[in-house]
Symmetry: C2
Subunit: 451 residues, 2 copies
């Protein structure tokens, strides 16, 4: 393995130049911006490695599908996404989000961590591997979608058309992951689910002078009161039935949590917080992070937000919410409970405008594929990585892996301070190099593991 690792180190500048090129192409799925161009760029990258590549159309963004035959029987699935989050608030970026900038050992730019860094890293790992070996020891199926940041709405379409490729997979390397705030490598084995909705309230037919608030309904108050009914100040979600399907945490899962050295102080400092929510710490904090469903307000907008004052009674108000779900909650069930709850509370006037959802999926630390990934990490990073049954975020694990019984492990090039989804997203160059070496080492490990 040493020559491949060295090869990666000596070619790092070239690999980073490729990543800068990829991050310079905007590909914001929420705005339908640059997706076809990005799919073409990714397709070219896979093609030049020797993959058989298809750009598979869907009713949304196309999915890039790459296939490469290996010497063994096993098939390894790689999953990534070429879309990125929106960039606002733009004025908080030190350098422009789509002009990748290298400074102080970091590469800044939208997508560097989430998720173009991982795409380019994997491609470079395969290139380095094949520079020193004749073949790869596993078959590879690489799925790179373009709608992960908007809920992977059409990945199910792709999966339905390619079940034959997905139903007999040994294991999947998921798109994200990396170092925690104590610089320890972590592996997640699943994802929380998601229900994303927009709630909207309407009042008069147009904005009115706020003097009329004495006699005219305010959609801002209506929406405020409706949202208030969803969650108590003690963080309990008040939608009846919301917790009914939550599977109790097993003894094995509790043990994983107990063994997990979560870098509490470092994370707190990184987020700029005095305390975590409700003063949580220790096992309670870890349990909430991994197994706690949430109700978050991603945005609330109504009326005047400029400088100074404007006295206006707004004619509409809207809020975007995400619910993170845990096994066995489902987006459809929670959406129905939400509608029923709003109606029961007298909020029939609150519209639910958009919704998207993903099923939660939790993994098993004892699976041989997971064990192989953990051994590889231990060799490369020098410590036993924590194997977390679910990450606190969401991805289409259920549709791509969970429904087929495929185990997954995360492997990315970010760290806890990467500012994913926020201004000044970046990766550390050392993590990019190590993450690339990890993928190459994992290929060898899978080749050496008894089938």
């Amino acid at each position: 393995m040493k020559p491949i690792a060295t090869h990666i180190e000596t070619h790092a500048d070239e690999y980073l130049a490729r990543l800068k090129h990829a991050c310079a192409q905007p590909s914001i799925s929420a705005l339908n911006q640059g997706l076809d161009e990005m799919a073409d760029m990714v397709s070219d990258m896979l093609h030049s490695l020797g993959f058989h590549v298809q750009i598979v159309p869907t009713d949304g963004a196309p999915v890039v599908l790459g296939r490469m035959a290996g010497t063994g029987e096993r098939t390894l699935l790689l999953y990534n996404h070429y879309d990125v989050q929106p960039v606002d608030p733009l004025d908080e970026w030190i350098t422009p989000p789509f002009k990748p900038d290298m400074r102080e050992g970091n590469l800044y730019g939208r997508g560097t961590a989430d998720n173009k860094g991982a795409i380019v890293s994997r491609a470079c790992a395969l290139e380095a591997y094949l520079a020193h070996r004749d073949t790869i020891p596993v078959n590879i199926v690489w799925v790179i979608e373009g709608e992960e940041e908007t809920g992977s709405l059409h990945l199910g379409q792709f999966v339905a058309q390619h079940r034959d490729l997905l139903q007999d997979v040994y294991g999947c390397v998921w798109e994200a992951g990396g170092k925690n705030a104590r610089d320890q490598y972590e592996i997640a084995l699943g994802c929380k689910g998601l229900l994303y909705v927009e709630l909207r309230a309407r009042g008069a037919s147009h904005d009115l002078h706020s003097a009329l608030a004495a006699t005219v309904i305010s959609p801002v108050w209506r929406l405020l009161w409706a949202l208030n009914s969803l969650k108590d100040a003690d963080e309990t979600i008040r939608i009846p039935g919301f917790y009914d399907a939550v599977r109790p945490i097993s003894a094995a899962q509790r043990q994983v949590l107990a063994d997990w050295d979560y870098p509490e102080e470092e994370a707190r400092a990184l987020y700029g917080l005095d305390t975590f929510l409700q003063g949580l710490s220790g096992d309670e904090l870890k349990e909430r992070l991994i197994f706690g469903p949430t109700c978050n307000v991603d945005g609330f907008h109504a009326g005047y937000g400029g400088p100074g004052s404007k006295t206006v009674l707004p004619c509409e108000a809207s809020a975007k919410l995400d619910f993170r779900l845990v096994p066995d909650q489902t987006p459809a069930t929670i959406l129905a409970l939400l509608r029923t709850h709003l109606d029961a509370q007298g909020f029939e006037d609150i519209e639910i405008l958009a919704d998207e959802g993903e099923h939660p999926s939790a993994g098993d630390p004892a699976h041989p594929f997971v064990q192989a990934a953990a051994r590889t990490a231990q060799r490369l990073y020098g410590h036993v990585p924590a194997c977390i049954p679910m990450m606190s975020g969401t991805g289409p694990v259920h549709v791509l892996c969970g429904q087929f019984g495929t185990p997954m492990v995360t492997a990315g090039v970010g760290y806890a301070g990467s500012m994913a989804h926020a201004p000044n997203e970046h990766i550390r160059i050392q993590d990019f190099i190590a993450g690339t070496q990890y993928i190459a080492a994992l290929l060898d490990e899978l080749g050496n593991t008894e089938p």
Copy 2:
């Protein structure tokens, strides 16, 4: 009076051209945009009429002060403001807010109704009056400020320097007013007060991935819960002590309300509402409109508001609120009660960032000046106008009139559908002409009234 009224009709095109010129100059006090330019334009307008004009600096926008001597002992105060509201949402304007557009008998543009229409109308009334009479029958003091839409923060400074001009005034013609939704002329004799505040909540040091909502405090929820604590769904304001200073409605005031033919159905249709707040109608509706204090959310902004979805835990949230106050509530008292309430509810973390305030002031329909204004309106419009003790909106009545015991009457050129403070603000040309004739007729009426 007939020749003056005819003069105004025959010169209407010229007068409207002057109004278009005035409305083409942006003068948004909330953005500190174009105020000096607008003060100069107004000053020139008064100067050309023969006024002695001063542009009086303050710590904010300058106040234009015009004085003209008349034949009688009495002094008439005219009050207007040359600033306008912000124009957003800009995309809802059919024609640009600062390119006044005449169509279908209306003049569209920011400021046409509130309040440049009234300024130009008064100037034209004086010009027409002096074209047919040698002198005016009263002394005139004309105060035109530039911060009415942001709470007249520095008008008090001006007043303190010019108490001699303001303490012996017979009556004041206030800036706004006009026709109600049943096309009846209405006169208001006072204003509600105002407390305007911005509340802000902060969380992490930067926006975070919304997966972290499981363990990181959300400033959006904090602000939501804090606002929810201010007002119940039954519209009762829950700040302890909020209603303590509210003066009971007198029998005379109740009689005014009972006599007032409020155009309930027309107003409802105009605002595009199925019902008024809580299904109010009749005397209850009128009482709430005129004598009810309010707590309105002018704006609430946090997190992502663009198209599609973004999963983010915002790091701050802010809301702008206005409280309309009635005698004898004061802005300072309500601000103190608000802070005490938030602290008592555990919302010490919610900052109150900005505040401005005005005292409420209610007038007496029996005052001879009010009676003269009402007689003039009755002659011009053919019906007895309602004389409402307070308008539901706010202005600096207390600082300019109330504290000196000066009675006031409103007189403007708008109507109920003028969309003041909203997109597509406009006036009807017929109202502009009649409003101009009204001011000229009022001068004659004040000359004929026994001192």
